[in-house]
């Protein structure tokens, strides 16, 4: 496999011998000067084109001549221009954001053909600006809720930001915020994501065939870019919503050279609810979260640019009464320092250093006992990425990266008067991870384009570490192996190839196929089908093997009405190896070596995804439908029989539509329908040795009722002329007040063999009823 792929990668190099000139430059927002990533640069009338990279840089090498160039980016007016290329040319392109005027809708220009030109499949660009008019719960815009509306992507339980891509688990999605891994992307048990929409420029989701610079997760990649800040003028934006308020400031530090952005968000639902809460059983409970994003950039020259960006967010839950008080803060920190350097018109480098962590802690005291619980993960990450554009239809990406991980398993320590217990807690775990990669895109024939990549990854658990062997009966340690600091405990490594092919059928359609292999070395195992803040990331090591994901996909892509409508039909098959679940009957305990409670198995998923989207014009929106099957098989679960994955939802439908009614009014609506999740409910009860035993016939053998919901929104924009522009967004979540099931529990009345009658009833808890919301946004 390795050799074959290497050969495929070398072929395009041999074909690159002709005389060429290079057109290169940056693509930016004309108003703010921010660089635009993933804008397309196409030579009209050919299939030659490229994307700008994450830093807005593009490069095209072609034989000298005159070309009609189309530069486009969603939400911006396209630039349609003719260039004469006799020698290398630097062309920085500024695109104007689309004015919200009706006349603009009449403008007919070439639309992007990306859908049928590029070899990529399962890739979605999500510019944050375009998502603003979609309806959302409590009026809080949320990127992660929007991606759940794409085909092949599912939400978890009601209101949750957790997402599941093509039958994969919640830990199999790599979420990057300015290249830093975000380990827990949710606030408040997943009702909100940590991504403040005011600070986010755009996001790209890959369900398959992710370029080889991405790795480490087996189901998807979500690459989120923070705004850079306006380098021309000082601006402020903000909003006041039902549960949170936001404020963002941005502007130039040195005009056209340096800019900054600072963005914050905090909820105040706790302040609003406190008077009411204090009259209930929940008196003394407080909860809030906040997010802080900041980014700074400095352009030394067209060749060198430095970015420093960071995110800091915390959820804080606290409780206090006469007996017990505690405070639980948890959240992520990320810091990214990047240096962009242009070696030549054809070679771009980005060097990155990242610090990222996720920490959970709990401190409190109960009747004179002070206690503390900690867990978390911390990463130090270095990376160098290169983009090399030897010819118009060649793009090479290559690079290397290194990460040092520190894992803090849940550990409890405490103190009561003079006595301390368990001061050391559970040992930390250490690991290092590295990869080198190369990815290229090349037209093999006029119709056939190939995008292929190879990533070689390795992972090592490092000492200090102790492997305990337990007596299965008493739980006491009978043996242990001690590894010294820095000593390699266990190593893993693997080639991870990706191959995508596009075959152009006609002017408006194409066939695509792909194969992707990914390895995942860090894991998050969740117990109850939902991720909780105290859930732990664990490294691969002596007990835990890396997760492996193979995926094959085949798709038909077609554009309609001069590329105004794009559509696709894809089928996929995905195989997941070394999947991890908790053993049957597991309940969490303190200071446990959590890996000892894991069981291992495999999973597979297959399905059909239909998608149609209209991205530009007065009416926009998309509809996605997924028919899919997802199973797991674990020798130690369900008596070894395959069982449906919890989020094995047969049908998924999402329809999203927005319409611009006038210069000032815009309306939106979305409807989702999902088959109910698979759930395990008891079927029978019986007695053994006088104990009531629950008989579960099949794991996840029962279906909750289907989930469906309609949301609507309306946005009223203020007049442009005022110094402070403002808009109002009105929304209604769950318009017809559907009582979707959040969770089920069994309520027992009576004690067995004591009370004359014992009744058991299944109760459903629903989360969000119909919720109207209003948000006021401003900009100056």
């Amino acid at each position: 496999m390795r050799l074959a792929t290497a050969a495929v990668l070398i072929v395009p190099m041999l074909a690159a011998g002709q005389q060429r000139v290079t057109l290169s430059g940056y693509i930016q927002d004309a108003a703010s000067g921010e660089r635009l990533a993933a804008a397309t640069v196409a030579i009209v009338g050919t299939s030659v084109g490229t994307y700008s990279n994450d830093y807005g840089f593009y490069s095209l090498s072609v034989v000298p001549g005159t070309y009609r160039l189309l530069v486009s980016y969603l939400g911006y007016e396209s630039l349609d221009t003719t260039v004469q290329l006799k020698a290398d040319l630097r062309l920085n392109v500024s695109l104007r954001p689309q004015a919200r005027q009706l006349q603009e809708l009449i403008v007919t220009s070439e639309r992007s053909e990306d859908n049928i030109v590029q070899a990529e499949m399962g890739r979605f660009e999500l510019p944050m600006e375009k998502l603003r008019t979609l309806p959302v719960v409590f009026g809080e815009q949320d990127l992660l809720k929007t991606i759940q509306l794409l085909p092949g992507v599912q939400g978890g339980t009601e209101g949750s930001t957790g997402y599941y891509v093509r039958g994969g688990g919640p830990d199999q999605n790599l979420i990057l915020l300015d290249e830093a891994t975000v380990y827990n992307a949710s606030h408040l048990l997943g009702f909100f994501s940590v991504f403040n929409s005011d600070a986010i420029l755009q996001a790209t989701l890959f369900k398959e065939g992710m370029p080889a610079n991405y790795g480490g997760r087996i189901s998807s990649v979500l690459d989120i870019t923070m705004k850079e800040g306006n380098s021309r003028q000082f601006h402020g934006t903000g909003g006041i919503g039902l549960i949170a308020s936001r404020l963002t400031l941005e502007g130039p530090l040195v005009k056209d050279r340096s800019s900054f952005i600072v963005s914050g968000r905090r909820t105040y639902v706790d302040v609003l609810l406190r008077p009411w809460l204090n009259t209930t059983d929940f008196a003394g409970t407080a909860y809030y979260f906040y997010d802080l994003n900041a980014k700074l950039n400095y352009r030394f020259s067209d060749k060198d640019r430095l970015y420093l960006s960071g995110y800091f967010g915390r959820d804080i839950f606290s409780f206090k009464d006469d007996f017990i008080s505690f405070s639980i803060p948890w959240g992520n920190t990320t810091t990214t320092l990047r240096w962009n350097h242009l070696f030549s018109d054809k070679l771009f480098m980005n060097a990155t250093a990242v610090y990222a962590d996720y920490q959970f802690s709990l401190t409190g005291n109960q009747e004179m006992v002070e206690f503390e619980v900690r867990s978390g993960i911390r990463d130090f990450h270095l990376k160098a990425d290169f983009d090399f554009y030897p010819a118009a239809d060649h793009h090479w990406q290559f690079g290397a990266l290194y990460t040092y991980h520190v894992f803090q398993p849940q550990s409890v320590s405490g103190r009561s008067g003079e006595t301390t217990f368990n001061p050391a807690g559970v040992d930390k775990r250490y690991a290092q991870e590295g990869a080198v990669y190369v990815h290229t895109q090349y037209d093999l024939t006029r119709r056939l384009r190939m995008s292929a990549g190879m990533r070689l990854s390795w992972f090592q658990q490092l000492g200090p570490a102790t492997l305990y062997r337990y007596d299965a009966f008493s739980g006491e340690v009978v043996d242990s192996t001690v590894y010294k600091r820095g000593q390699v405990v266990k190593s893993y490594g693997s080639p991870e190839p990706r191959l995508l092919l596009r075959y152009r059928l006609g002017a408006n359609d194409a066939l695509k196929a792909s194969y992707t292999l990914n390895q995942q070395y860090v894991h998050l195992v969740t117990n109850n089908g939902t991720t909780l803040p105290a859930d732990l990331w664990v490294p691969s090591g002596l007990l835990v093997k890396p997760q492996i994901g193979h995926q094959w996909a085949l798709g038909y892509f077609r554009n309609w009405l001069n590329n105004q409508l794009e559509s696709s039909a894809e089928i996929y098959y995905k195989k997941l190896l070394n999947q991890i679940e908790f053993r049957e009957g597991y309940t969490p305990r303190v200071n446990e070596v959590i890996e000892e409670n894991f069981v291992y198995g495999n999973g597979w998923s297959y399905g059909l995804e239909l998608y149609v989207a209209k991205k530009t014009g007065r009416y926009t929106g998309w509809a996605g439908y997924t028919l899919s099957y997802t199973r797991r098989r674990f020798p130690e679960l369900n008596e070894g029989r395959p069982f449906p994955y919890r989020f094995d939802r047969r049908h998924n439908l999402a329809v999203v539509a927005t319409a611009r009614l006038s210069d000032r009014w815009e309306i939106g609506a979305q409807f989702v329908y999902n088959t109910g999740i698979a759930y395990t409910l008891p079927k029978q009860k019986y007695f053994i040795e006088g104990n009531v035993i629950t008989f579960y016939e099949e794991l996840n053998g029962f279906r909750l009722p289907p989930y469906h919901r309609l949301d609507v929104s309306a946005t009223l924009r203020g007049k442009k002329s005022k110094p402070i522009q403002s808009d109002w967004t009105f929304g209604i979540y769950n318009v017809y007040n559907r009582q979707n099931v959040f969770f089920i529990y069994n309520e027992y009345e009576g004690i067995f063999l004591t009370d004359p009658t014992v009744t058991i009833k299944a109760k459903q808890v629903s989360l969000f009823p119909i919720i109207p919301s209003v948000t006021w946004n401003f900009r100056f």
Binding site: F317, G364, V373, N528, G585, K685, Y686, F702, V765
Partner: protein, 288 residues
């Protein structure tokens, strides 16, 4: 310490509950499945086979104590065979707490070490089958006790056990305090896959009556002055799997965070267990 992660998760769930708008009875059809026949059968070295036959009830049906007798199945034709000899079990009725319960006993047919026993039950037009074996007994090497720090009354029971060199030995044990019956602890079974062939010391938990939470107090520990009897039984793999999974299930009951457990029964055509025990008895008197 009382405070556990369960609590933390529970509090977080409460936080979610603050937003939760509505709780109501599930308005959908709950799973229904056929009533299952449940076997609770055993055969011990030197004792006749004993079988209790009952039926399960739909999980969401009310459980009425007065009609508990209705759950037991009478009139079954039950045969136990060791391949050479066999016995038809006689149905006798035993009164417990005012309820008369049918129990099937194979009088005169005594369990022997190293033999395999087939169980065949014909009842209500159904046939249930199971196989178990009585392995060779695996006695403990010794038994002793230790005082507990900061307690004048509590003691911990310890034992030394030498696992035989052959792999796949399984044990279930019960303890008896003074005149109380033999009862298992929360984790009454043990396998030797990690400790095969080794000698080691470990504590033994005092058995509990799961329906009587008072017996959970000072879990695992005995008291000064107790006469302790340990019934230490070698069992086979399927028998072990049943109790292992059953105890997982019991351990998770009542926790909203426990994953459901499918109990591994060795009964073909029903639920429950047909289990052989090779007991060895050990006694220790803890002085006052």
């Amino acid at each position: 310490m009382e405070f556990s992660f369960l609590n933390i998760r529970f509090y977080l769930l409460i936080a979610a509950g603050l937003l939760a708008s509505c709780t109501r009875e599930l308005d959908i059809e709950l799973p229904s499945s056929a009533t299952q026949l449940v076997v609770e059968g055993r055969i011990e070295t030197g004792s006749p086979p004993v079988v209790l036959l009952s039926r399960s009830s739909s999980f969401y049906d009310d459980f009425i104590l007065d009609s508990a007798a209705n759950y037991f199945v009478s009139g079954a034709h039950i045969v136990v065979s060791d391949g050479t000899d066999s016995v038809i079990l006689a149905e006798v009725f035993i009164d417990t707490a005012g309820v008369s319960i049918p129990v099937y006993v194979g009088f005169g047919f005594l369990g022997q070490e190293g033999k395999t026993y087939q169980l065949r039950i014909k009842v209500e037009g159904k046939v249930l089958r199971a196989v178990t074996s009585i392995p060779k007994a695996l006695p403990l090497d010794s038994l002793w006790w230790e005082t507990m720090p900061e307690s004048d009354t509590l003691v911990r029971l310890l034992c030394r056990f030498t696992d035989p060199p052959e792999p796949e030995n399984y044990v279930r044990y019960f303890t008896k305090r003074n005149a109380e019956p033999f009862m298992p602890g929360f984790n009454s079974v043990f396998e030797d896959d990690l400790v095969n062939g080794q000698s080691f010391d470990f504590p033994l938990d005092r058995g509990v009556d799961r329906n009587n939470p008072e017996t959970f107090e000072h879990y695992g520990l005995f008291y000064r002055g107790d006469t302790i009897t340990v019934k230490w039984c070698a069992i086979d793999a399927a028998h072990f799997e049943f109790w292992r999974t059953l105890e997982f299930e019991l351990g998770g009951q009542g926790s909203p965070f426990a994953a459901p457990v499918i109990i591994k029964s060795n009964i073909e055509g029903g639920l429950g267990i047909w289990g052989g025990y090779a007991p060895s008895y050990h006694q220790l008197i803890v002085p006052r």
